[in-house]
């Protein structure tokens, strides 16, 4: 494989040798001498006033170093930050430990610091808290109803924010419609469940007045800024390190109470302090995703043309805003058009406070909800109008020549060829034959379902402030250091970034080191989320490498005493046109640039360059997913027979990594469709508080996924890459649900809310049977 052809090649990951040997260092694996262990007392109640806390017994417990309560430290640590939202946003004060009242199960109240790991939780048991229980509201619709208990008494009701956006002529659309199809859709709460729970280790070096915080985070640079504000330190006094991070999926794209608390404790105790989240804590006190309930109305012509869409939705925020909570539901509104030409769209959004953990970005973050709304509705339309769902989709797609395609909601889809992806998927799955099989099997009372999802997503966050930073430095030894402000945690950019640089500079992969996740090593950065690390961070690195190459060209021209235009670059070497023997390698140039004995006038020593990249627009990956299921009405069991995905994420750097992202994403989206739901009861008690009752997809539940791609480059960045981190999750959920609903069409089923548990399916089949069977509901 020639080195200049690394981009696009299946290159094995450079991250793996340490990970497959168990040598990766996650936060809890890092041990500093004399580290103290922190455990947090969490509220067992969803809504209560703290009347008193008795901590003396805990303080006296052998091995306990300190006990702090929310009331004691309230004024010493800033509140947790939030960003996004409009002028209606209400931001309740969110302390790192609750001071006088708790608003959800799992909210921290007090912390014990002890010498040993097991001593801290022992001492928690000795803390006595007297609560005055307050009325609870856990359902977002009830939270907005008149007479509901109000969670934050600063405001008259539980509205966290509102927006009512209307695009296009809705009145006309609904007037001209042959049919108006309505559907209520629930996007249940999900727990991200990164297999590594969160963890924080903080250490204050008083001699240097520097606080170092190791955190299992996706955003070390943002965390550093926020922590310095919360702890009233200057930014240069705070260093954040994201070591090996065991998955994030958005759940570590945040600033959490424990990060502030541990920073504070490290400063106060002048000793390293560590907190490792347990899984129970993780489900109680790490953000949840989704949590929307809405009513959709679609105005359609008889031929399936979609004229307009109205979505009235309530977003379940939880008790407080976390970092990006207010930014997530608006994404749903932005992407409601899906991959269709819909001239009029409205989204009437009300976000409600409830006595639950906050919702925030979880893989897809607002877009899976949009895709689910539009893709479920397209199938509802097809079913109502008795048209093949493929036809409804094709009828409403914009044509390839119509790109950049501007939606009614105001976004400009960069590039796309939706027909191509759909046709390819139909061919692979054998659509026509499947429809015939379906018909045949129904006569034998076997229920096959074919579900489509043609999705488009918005990613590579993004324009307007979401830049990323990269630096490429050729050392005098010829080795290359690449620094990125992105913070990969499983995606594999130590490999793909090296591929980009190896191609640009013609150097060996093995000579390149990619450094990330340490604010002391990398000057600035934003982080890894929103499918941006390669499509934004990778471009910053590409640009930096370009600059390095240009500087190398100037230097080569100077050293070889020829015009820069007379140099050709190949395999890491500049040579004189027509005189291939006369030339210099990048490594030789780097050495000279470091020695700096004979540099062109005004040129700085060293062969290095940095760059920030802020894209002019988002990118819009798209594709078609088709899921084929067989449902057993007698048991409610859903068997997935086939899964075909055709995804288009523009140009691909490393197909191995892209496949990995898509496969993982599909299974996560399938988890939402079939298994997962965070359930709180009406008292705000968390009923799915461990992995024993929060069900995740397992290897045996799944079919072999059949993946392929189309490749429509984006014009938004020079590499044409769109990003692939979330596509699978966005595309898969509606494909699975559409398949199950399609299978049960003979029972008159038109919609089922997720997760599609066997119990739900079985009950539905029983009900319709009892109702006489076969009739449309």
């Amino acid at each position: 494989m020639p080195v200049s052809k690394l981009v696009g090649a299946k290159v094995k990951r450079r991250e793996d040798p340490r990970l497959i040997r168990g040598l990766g260092q996650y936060v809890d694996d890092i041990n500093l001498p004399n580290t103290l262990h922190v455990a947090i007392l969490r509220s067992p109640h969803a809504h209560a006033r703290i009347k008193s806390i008795e901590t003396d017994a805990a303080r006296r417990h052998p091995g306990v170093v300190a006990v702090v309560t929310g009331a004691e430290i309230k004024d010493q640590i800033g509140t947790l930050p939030t960003s996004g939202g409009n002028e209606t946003l209400r931001v309740p004060k969110h302390y790192v430990l609750a001071a006088d009242k708790v608003c959800h199960v799992g909210e921290g109240i007090a912390a014990v610091v002890a010498e040993e790991r097991y001593t801290a939780p022992d001492a928690l048991d000795l803390i006595r808290v007297e609560y005055e229980l307050l009325p609870v509201v856990s359902d977002p619709e009830k939270a907005l109803a008149p007479g509901s208990p109000v969670i934050h008494s600063e405001w008259p009701d539980n509205v966290a924010f509102r927006s009512d956006l209307k695009h296009g002529n809705l009145a006309k659309a609904f007037k001209e419609a042959d049919k108006i199809i309505t559907q209520r859709l629930v996007h249940q709460r999900l727990a991200p469940i990164a297999i590594e729970p969160r963890g924080v280790l903080a250490h204050y070096l008083s001699s240097d007045k520097e606080l170092t915080v190791w955190s299992s985070t996706q955003i070390p640079h943002m965390l550093k800024s926020h922590l310095s504000q919360m702890l009233k330190l200057s930014e240069k006094q705070v260093r954040v390190i994201a070591p090996e991070v065991g998955g994030g999926f958005g759940s570590k794209l945040n600033v959490y109470a424990e990060e502030g608390l541990l920073g504070y404790l490290a400063l106060k105790l002048n000793c390293p302090v560590k907190w490792t989240e347990g899984r129970r804590e993780n489900i109680q006190a790490t953000i949840h995703g989704r949590g929307q309930v809405g009513d959709v109305e679609a105005a359609v012509k008889k031929d399936g043309t979609i004229l307009g869409l109205r979505y009235k939705v309530i977003a379940d925020i939880g008790a407080y805003h976390q970092l990006f909570t207010p930014a997530i539901p608006p994404f749903t509104g932005l992407m409601l058009s899906g991959c269709y030409k819909i001239p009029a769209i409205s989204i009437d959004l009300t976000a409600a406070f409830t006595n639950k953990m906050s919702t925030d970005a979880y893989r897809g973050a607002g877009r899976p909800e949009a895709t689910y709304v539009i893709e479920r509705m397209v199938d509802r339309i097809a079913q109502e109008l008795r048209i093949d769902p493929v036809k409804v989709r094709k009828k409403n797609f914009p044509k390839p020549a119509e790109f950049p395609f501007k939606t009614a909601t105001g976004v400009a889809y960069d590039s796309g060829n939706y027909q191509l992806a759909l046709n390819k998927a139909l061919k692979i799955v054998g659509y026509e034959k499947l429809r015939r099989d379906q018909k045949r099997l129904r006569s034998q009372r076997r229920y096959l379902g074919i579900g489509l999802s043609t999705y488009v997503e918005i990613c590579a966050m993004g324009p307007k402030g979401m830049w990323e930073y990269g630096k490429v430095e050729v050392e005098p030894t010829g080795k290359v250091r690449v620094l990125s402000g992105a913070s990969p945690h499983g995606q594999g950019q130590e490999t793909s970034f090296a591929q980009i640089v190896a191609d640009q500079l013609g150097v060996e992969m093995d000579d390149i080191t990619v450094i990330h996740g340490d604010t002391a090593a990398v000057a600035k950065g934003i982080g890894t989320f929103g499918s941006r690390a390669t499509a934004v961070g990778g471009i910053a690195i590409y640009q930096a490498a370009e600059k390095v190459k240009e500087k190398a060209r100037e230097l080569a021209s100077h050293f070889l005493e020829v015009d820069a235009d007379d140099l050709v670059f190949s395999d890491g070497r500049f040579s004189v046109k027509g005189v291939p023997k006369k030339g210099l390698t990048v490594q030789q140039i780097a050495q000279e640039a470091h020695r700096a004995k004979n540099l062109p006038k005004k040129m700085e020593p060293r062969l290095s360059a940095e760059s920030t990249f802020e894209p002019s627009n988002f990118t819009f990956p798209f594709g078609t997913h088709i899921c084929v299921v067989e449902v057993e009405p007698q048991t409610g069991k859903i068997g997935i027979k086939k899964y075909v995905a055709v995804d288009d994420c523009g140009k691909v750097i490393n197909p191995l990594l892209v496949d990995g992202q898509i496969q993982g994403g599909i299974v996560q989206g399938l988890g939402q469709a079939l298994y997962e739901e965070v359930v709180y009861d009406e008292n705000g008690q968390l009923l799915t508080g461990s992995l024993m009752n929060y069900a995740l997809p397992r290897a045996a539940d799944l079919p072999r996924l059949n993946l392929t791609r189309t490749e429509t480059p984006t014009p938004v960045n020079p590499l044409g890459i769109k990003g692939i981190g979330e596509a699978g999750t966005i595309g898969s959920t509606p494909a699975v649900v559409n398949a199950v609903v399609d299978a049960l069409a003979p029972f008159g089923v038109t919609h089922i809310d997720m997760p599609l548990t066997p119990q739900k399916i079985w009950s539905l089949c029983q009900e319709t049977k009892a109702a006489g069977s076969g009739g449309r509901r």
Partner: protein, 164 residues
């Protein structure tokens, strides 16, 4: 806890004998991580659901988050750190690398050891047998497909080796 209530355990880990005085309640996974310093065995759920803490105890894959260190007294353990022979990776490690069978890597040590047990019992498993065997190990990143591929590849390579 005072020394009187501590118990002495002698456990062989990756071929090396270790003896320590431990609290009777100390979990085996914490013994490995905090006492011995082998942090390749991870903790993901503390309820034996996720399998991140899977190790081999006397040739059987167990979830070390629900075994007490004192229960492992006298046992012979294999953790992820003991699987490779020096620089030479085990075929499963090679295959996980080649097939992109891991992303964040957190579930990987447990996943590999679970697959190791499968191949000891069933050297040429079919795809559904692999999926069934890995059912007690959760991965949130990969969707399992590349993991299944990796186990198949390792089985194939190990099979070829034994034939030779």
């Amino acid at each position: 806890m005072d020394a009187a209530t501590k118990k002495k355990v002698s456990i062989r880990i990756n071929g090396v004998e270790h003896s320590h005085e431990v609290e009777p309640r100390l979990l085996l996974v914490h013994f490995l991580r905090d006492v011995i310093g082998l942090t390749g065995t991870h903790i993901g759920c503390e309820t034996s659901i996720c399998g991140a803490c899977t190790i081999m105890l006397d040739n059987a894959a167990v979830k070390s988050c629900t075994v007490l260190a004192v229960q492992a007294d006298g046992a012979d353990l294999l953790t992820i750190e003991g699987l490779a022979q020096g620089e030479k990776l085990h075929p499963l490690q090679e295959a996980f690398w080649e097939c992109h069978g891991l992303q964040c890597g957190y579930c990987t040590p447990g996943m590999i050891l679970c697959a190791h047990q499968l191949l000891l019992r069933n050297p040429q498993p079919a795809e559904d047998e692999i999926r069934h065997a890995l059912d007690g190990n959760l991965c949130r990143c990969t969707g399992y497909q590349h993991i299944v591929d990796a186990v198949q590849q390792a089985a194939k390579r190990m099979g070829q080796k034994t034939k030779k």
